[in-house]
Symmetry: C2
Subunit: 384 residues, 2 copies
């Protein structure tokens, strides 16, 4: 198994850390932001675009790839890396989030989650063992434990039950990986997921057991599902204070630049989110001074790039006026160029965070970033 994590720097003024994950598909610098390649592509972008943006790790969705093209097809074609032409690392989620959120008619039992495909209505079951076998078949560098999600807020008994089941499923997933390894497979790293929603005591209780299991890293589960930034960050701070320093910490589903900067300050190493690229396809991008709505009429003759401080391919070559025109005209190139910026912007953000951590000035970096991000100054129309 080729997986290791080196903690390289700890910031003095915050809990921020900088590290390096080694995988069979190269190194991943942390803090890391993972673009989401839902069904085998980060929408509109090629692997070359992603590399060009400095990306070293992607997230692939187990649920989507399991249904289409199917794990046997992906395995036959040499695994997800080869299938999609991506040479960097891949983390796959467990499928747990999608089987719950994309399926109204799912049935949760001790065995797993039974659901109907959102594509053709066919019936399937994914449980802790199948989730391992699928992720192994896809060829993930990092797999995620299959956990039970519940809708929040929920009565405390519900939260407890979900925590207990998540822990039983965590053991079963580890056992299944061990079984696969016995067959010469299952080389992937495996991350456990801490649950308990926004109940600090439940999260602590969950991790008390989880820490005893042989996971290669730990994820912060059940957060950023509507609880609000303040409470979410409180839970992040709590979990990170307890997680062992020598394992990577992954905050799932977080991708707003402010959340990223705040989570890193609390000790998070990895994040993923569709938000930046989904927003980009809809014509809204994050720039260093906030949010920019590309089709705003104010940009019709604005020759400046989306973000004058960005050195992505889009910002080096195209004006706001052109991008606005593409969006107003419904041209697909607009989505693509905005997505190039969006991915570059997030990766550049975590890279700058990493440098600040290495130099022991993360607190200053964070306040400068937040002040500027909230300034909205590029939204003012260019003099013309």
């Amino acid at each position: 198994m080729t997986f290791s994590f080196q903690l390289e720097h700890r910031d003095g003024g915050t809990a921020a850390r900088a590290g390096r994950i080694t995988t069979a598909h190269g190194e991943v610098l942390t803090p890391a932001f993972m673009p989401v390649g839902t069904v085998g592509s980060v929408k509109t972008l090629t692997p070359d675009d992603l590399r060009g943006a400095g990306c070293d790790v992607l997230l692939g969705n187990t649920y989507h790839l399991y249904l289409r093209p199917g794990v046997d097809t992906v395995r036959t074609l040499g695994g997800l890396h080869r299938f999609m032409g991506w040479r960097g690392a891949i983390l796959t989620d467990s499928g747990g989030f999608q089987v719950m959120s994309l399926n109204e008619l799912n049935k949760v039992s001790e065995e797993g989650v039974e659901f109907r495909s959102h594509l053709d209505g066919s019936r399937h079951l994914i449980g802790p063992e199948t989730a391992m076998r699928i992720q192994d078949g896809l060829g993930a560098d990092i797999a995620m434990s299959f956990d039970q999600l519940i809708e929040l807020p929920a009565p405390i008994e519900k939260v407890r039950e979900a925590v207990d089941r998540t822990l039983r499923w965590a053991r079963r997933g580890l056992d299944e990986r061990a079984r696969l390894r016995g067959e010469g497979r299952g080389v992937m790293a495996l991350f456990g997921i801490n649950q308990g929603g926004t109940d600090a005591a439940e999260r602590a209780r969950c991790f008390a057991t989880l820490r005893g299991l042989e996971f290669d890293g730990y994820a912060l589960g059940g957060l950023w599902v509507g609880e609000g930034r303040t409470l979410g960050l409180e839970m992040v701070e709590r979990d990170c204070a307890e997680f062992p320093a020598d394992r990577p910490r992954y905050l799932m589903g977080v991708g707003h630049p402010v959340d990223v900067v705040e989570a890193v300050a609390r000790g998070v190493d990895m994040m993923d989110c569709v938000l930046p690229t989904r927003n980009a396809r809809r014509g809204t991008v994050f720039v260093s001074t906030g949010r920019l709505v590309v089709r705003n009429a104010a940009y019709a003759r604005d020759e400046r790039p989306l973000d004058p401080e960005c050195d992505c391919d889009t910002c080096r070559k195209f004006s706001r006026a052109y991008l606005r025109h593409l969006f107003v005209s419904g041209e697909l190139l607009g989505m693509r160029l905005a997505s190039v910026h969006a991915v570059h912007q997030m990766i550049s953000l975590v890279r700058r965070a990493r440098t600040a951590i290495a130099e022991g000035r993360y607190a200053a970096f964070r306040s400068e970033f937040l002040d500027k991000f909230r300034s909205n100054e590029t939204l003012v129309r260019a003099a013309s």
Copy 2:
């Protein structure tokens, strides 16, 4: 004015020619295929993609750009080249085709064509003078004369009237360019358009006048509108036999590989068509052995590239299986990767044609191409 055409080679066995057009935005090797950048982008592709495919000239649509973002906006932003980030040559059409084909309620008079915008219903008139001013404002390297199109088949009197009006409009366009040049503008080259549909006598009559006007090149108009390949190619042969050897010849709206190869054999220098890229976005591409429907189930596990003989970025990096998956899943990256192939395939075709002409073996090139193109051999499922 920076525009010249050098005829460099004539094939011995056919009427095919190889040449070189010089513009203020670089050289254009002929035979040339021009991808169509309808509203300021060749859909899904960047200028870098186009350059990577060997493209040296694009077509821009006057009608679309006139309506959105508008010629004043494009001019203010430094012209179409700068607006879209394209450093190569641009030929703009006159808008005549769109004002007729996208507008049921157009009114043709001696002044021009009055039409309603397909975007917002607003009323506009484009005539021979406005067509010049718009193309000049866009910054075209090569502008097209505003001609009158009619639906075919049509009674001979209708054809004659359209020819006569096209000739009057041709003179007015030239006069308008002269007037613009008096103001220090109008640097673009201007091509006249021969009309007369599939009536050889009318085409001859039209050109008898057109040849006396100071056009920098000549286009073959009113063809590939449903008359069929045989009759179309007959008209091409007729026109080319009459057109002066020292001016480029542009066959409008032609882009099927077989038509391209046949038109070049008859002396055509330039062509354009949305067909290859439009087909590509819908999941059908031309390959060296014919047509390939990407979402065909036979390709689900086919590791070969779309065209094993193609060296485009898509064929060098991605399998049919992956492209099929992208199309079946509705991923925009599929359209983009297929478009990269489509443009590369057409430009590579005219480049190989050029080499064959230079080596005096175009007849052999043509028959080898046609034999292979019609073989459909890559459509057979890969052994697996």
